[in-house]
Amino acid sequence: MTTPMLQAVNLSVQFGGLKAVNDVSFDVWPNEVFSLIGPNGAGKTTIFNLISALYRPTSGEVRFESEVISRMPPHVVARHGIARTFQNIELFEHATVLQNLLVGRHCHRHTGWVQDLLFTGSVRRAELEFRRQVEEVIEFLDLQHYRESMVAGLPYGVRKVVELARALSMRPRLLLLDEPSSGLNTEETEDMGFWIEDIKQDLGITVIMVEHDMGLVSRVSDRVLALNLGEVLTLGTPEEVQAHPGVIEAYLGGVDDV
């Protein structure tokens, strides 16, 4: 394959006087795990919001399989096969896990609200098919136990998995994970690592991940992009990036800061 799956081209975004992302370019290739790292305020989540079109870039663009997506409304971007999770978990709180996952199938619906109102045969068939597909995800992430639970009552670690499951129910081609391990204990983080590897290998989904846990990053990432203050520090394998003096300085601060 010669074309990148996702390209960020000279991406910049400005909020008032603040340049949150400044002239960032990178390519993500099919079937890789691509991590964004950097200290707080580096612009990682902002880049995610730019990819999923929640923000509009001030200049530059995002291309998905050579198509410019940064000017589309967010729901159209989702229909192109880009799913995401959120840093602070944005689940549908007052619905069951199953319903949350079924929302993930939304882009694949073919019926309109009139058919839904009458619950026609095609709606019924589609619903059964959705239900079956969602069950595959439930099995994949071991959520059987929580199927009928309300999200509002679930512990944090489970919610994190449910959010991943919801994104996977979309059967995306590109998955954006915003800090998948934050708030998880070591064991749960371990599981998350296995799942990300499986998502890449078994499901063939490309993953872009924002992550602070360097252990997880080096375990699963193919390439890492380090950012600081909205600008690219370096790009390379996890080892290369971790050894980069600019990265060490960004995380630990200059000698005089200490």
Binding site: T45, N49, L54, F86, Q87, N88, E90
Partner: protein, 296 residues
């Protein structure tokens, strides 16, 4: 030209009432992100309290005015303590529904109180039905003293509030709370008590508005519906902004007054709502509003 000026002055007077009620909304909204739909009904209660103080207890206007303000502050604080504080942390809609319930209840209860009832009452203010001629008797601008008092009282009240927020410890604590409750709490500000005081302050302002409005519209149980027009005022100004509430109130008042004269019958009553709809389409954050986008 004189005609226009005349309309603007009377519009501005009513606008001041809207502005005061909107100010009440904004104070509470800034502090607790709750919108008090009972604001207009608080104003109505204020009107009745003043009426009782003057006609039943026979107090002079100034005393009744002060007493009503204090009583209204207590009513507001009581409402916060009794029914709103238990809901802290609940979704905004729960709080809104509670205030809607309070307003509904207030309109019912008021009619059951002896002497208040369902009739309309006149508040016997000393300046009733007096007018002042500006620029020559018979030829200049005629301003009713009732309108003048409203405008002057609003100016004084706003100046006092400004000084309060700017220079007193409590005022600064209230400002801090309205910017960031959690941070204010960590800084040792008793957020709950401050919230209660804000409710008190807000309803005291409404009480004042009620007393000022009473000479024009009479005192009756449905007087509080005027308060609904303070919503457009608050939105036009930008919901979280105090100067916005004032400007918004004036705009709504003046537009209404002009619409009543230049447009066919019926437009006066809906002018405020048309303005707010236009505003919501053109500039939802209002003239002085803050950004309301949620961060993810």
């Amino acid at each position: 030209m004189l005609q226009l000026l005349q309309l603007i002055v009377s519009g501005a007077a009513i606008g001041c009432i809207y502005a005061l009620i909107a100010l009440g909304f904004v104070l509470i909204y800034k502090a607790t992100e709750t919108v008090n739909f009972a604001q207009g009904d608080l104003m109505m209660i204020g009107g009745f309290l003043g009426l009782t103080a003057m006609t039943v207890a026979g107090m002079p206007f100034a005393v009744a005015f002060l007493l009503t303000t204090v009583a209204m502050a207590l009513v507001g604080m009581g409402a916060e303590r009794l029914v709103l504080r238990p809901l802290l942390g609940q979704p905004a809609f729960t709080m809104i529904m509670m205030t809607i319930g309070l307003g509904y209840l207030a309109r019912g209860v008021v009619t059951m109180i002896p002497y208040w009832g369902t009739e309309t009452h006149t508040l016997p203010v000393p300046y009733k039905d007096e007018v002042i001629w500006l620029g020559g008797e018979g030829t200049g601008l005629v301003v009713s003293v009732e309108h003048l008092v409203i405008i002057l009282a609003t100016v004084v009240l706003v100046a006092l509030l400004y000084a309060f927020f700017r220079y007193t410890r409590l005022g600064i604590a209230m400002q801090a709370t309205s910017q960031n409750q959690l941070a204010a709490f960590y800084m040792g500000i008793p957020v709950r008590r401050v919230n209660m005081l804000i409710w008190g302050l807000s309803s005291a302002i409404c009480g004042v508005a009620g007393l000022l409005l009473a000479p024009i519209t009479f005192v009756h149980a449905n007087m509080g519906f005027v308060g609904l027009k303070a919503f457009p005022a608050a939105v036009v100004g930008g919901f979280g902004s105090i100067p916005g509430a004032l400007v918004g109130g004036l705009i709504i008042g003046i537009v209404e007054s002009l619409a009543g004269f230049y447009l066919p019958e019926g437009f006066k009553d809906i002018a405020a709502y048309v303005v707010v709809l236009v505003m919501l389409v053109v500039k939802p954050n209002g003239l002085f509003g803050e950004n309301l986008t949620k961060k993810v």
